[in-house]
């Protein structure tokens, strides 16, 4: 009887589920309800089952993007801390190559984090997440292009395009990336897929970092307020990214619990 019921399922379905399904059928006597349920299940499998293996791989791909995005967010948080703290200690002066390399690393890892975390969240909120992803991601690419142009020309003031020097392009990209991080934080907060506290911290950090940098450079904030904004930005912005990364890894880890029920 059980073999007959199993034989009603399509071959592709049996190749994947036959062993475990046969064990489930053998666990207890089959009543009329169970037989009718299996008949309907077999009919459903014939009508519905397609692309099962591909879909499974697709789901694993999303878990991988979440993991990569999480690690990248933690690393970019550390690098942003080095960059912002280094810049604040150095009072905006030329601190040397290490700060430049740290900045380059921060931009690259932020871009990776944005891609990884957005790909995961966009599965359920595509418009919200890809909209909040666009500004920081495009800005990160502009910032990198400005940095590469400056390095290639060897002159930070040399005009590259539309009257803008490589340094100016990089600065515009960097400002966009910082503001865009705030937009990404808002998108993440609304999506609820990752920690809302982490998203809030990143959003607040982005506001402080923009206020701090423009306040000090532009002089439109009283010096004391600008310094407070700089101090808060050094703490909140990197912490926000790192917390978002930890949150992503926790979400990923929720699917990696030990085999508690495996032998039940």
């Amino acid at each position: 009887m059980r073999g007959l019921l199993l034989g009603l399922y399509p071959a592709r379905w049996r190749a994947r589920y036959a062993d475990e399904f046969a064990l489930v059928l053998a666990e207890r006597p089959l009543g009329p309800f169970d037989v009718a349920d299996v008949l309907l299940g077999a009919l459903d499998a014939h009508l519905h089952l397609r692309g099962l293996g591909a879909a499974s791989a697709h789901g694993k791909g999303f878990a991988m993007t979440l993991r990569i995005g999480g690690y990248a967010a933690i690393v970019c948080g550390l690098l942003w801390f080095i960059v912002l703290a280094g810049n604040a200690i150095n009072n905006g002066g030329n601190a040397g190559a290490w700060l430049g390399w740290s900045l380059l690393g921060a931009v690259v890892t932020t871009l990776v984090a944005l891609i990884g975390l957005s790909a995961f969240q966009a599965r359920r909120y595509p418009v919200l997440i890809w909209t909040s992803f666009a500004v920081p991601a495009v800005s990160a690419v502009i910032a990198l292009a400005g940095g590469v142009a400056t390095a290639a020309s060897g002159d930070s003031d040399r005009e590259i395009v539309a009257g803008l020097s490589g340094w100016a392009i990089g600065t515009i990209g960097m400002l966009g990336l910082l503001i865009g991080s705030g937009l990404f934080a808002i998108g993440t907060w609304r999506a609820r897929s990752l920690s809302r506290s982490a998203a809030s911290l990143l959003g607040v950090g982005a506001v402080f970092v923009v206020l701090g940098l423009t306040g000090v450079a532009g002089g439109f904030l009283p010096r004391e307020l600008a310094l407070i904004a700089v101090l808060l930005s050094v703490l909140a912005f990197p912490a926000g990214w790192a917390a978002l990364g930890v949150s992503a890894l926790r979400v990923d880890g929720a699917g990696a619990a030990p085999l508690e029920g495996a032998g039940a």
């Binding site: 379905w13 589920y17 062993d19 475990e20 399904f21 064990l23 489930v24 059928l25 666990e27 309800f33 169970d34 009718a36 349920d37 299996v38 008949l39 309907l40 299940g41 077999a42 459903d44 499998a45 519905h48 089952l49 692309g51 099962l52 879909a55 499974s56 697709h58 789901g59 694993k60 999303f62 878990a63 979440l66 995961f120 599965r123 359920r124 609820r192 897929s193 979400v251 990923d252 880890g253 929720a254 699917g255 990696a256 619990a257 030990p258 085999l259 508690e260 029920g261 495996a262 032998g263 039940a264």
Partner: protein, 108 residues
């Protein structure tokens, strides 16, 4: 289902939710899920329904199959599945509270 989170699961949306809840405290194989759902809901879940729902959940990346243990293949909640389940349950809580408020059995 009271929310629109798993509309593509059709008539398997409710069994799928039961399965996700069953897997929320750790991986389980098919028969363990079936008995756990029956114990939790007080209603039987047939093997045909169980595996139709499992196949759909696996297709959508909400659960992941693990390596078989004694020919029994355990399943676990994926990261996405945990997020979807959390949102489903919160939606149900809000819906239940709305109903209770309208019945005058909960504070407004």
């Amino acid at each position: 289902m009271t929310t629109n989170e798993m509309p593509e699961l059709g008539r398997f949306a409710e069994p799928s939710l039961y399965i996700l809840v069953s897997l929320s405290d750790g991986p389980k194989h098919g028969y363990a899920i079936m008995t756990d759902v029956e114990a939790g809901t007080g209603r039987p879940m047939g093997p045909g329904t169980l595996y139709a729902a499992l196949a759909r959940l696996e297709e959508r990346g909400l659960i992941e199959a693990l390596a078989p243990v004694d020919r029994r293949r355990p399943y676990r909640l994926s990261a996405l599945g945990a997020t979807v389940l959390s949102e489903q349950l919160n939606g149900l809580v809000e819906f239940a509270q709305l109903g209770l408020r309208r019945l005058g059995q909960a504070p407004r």
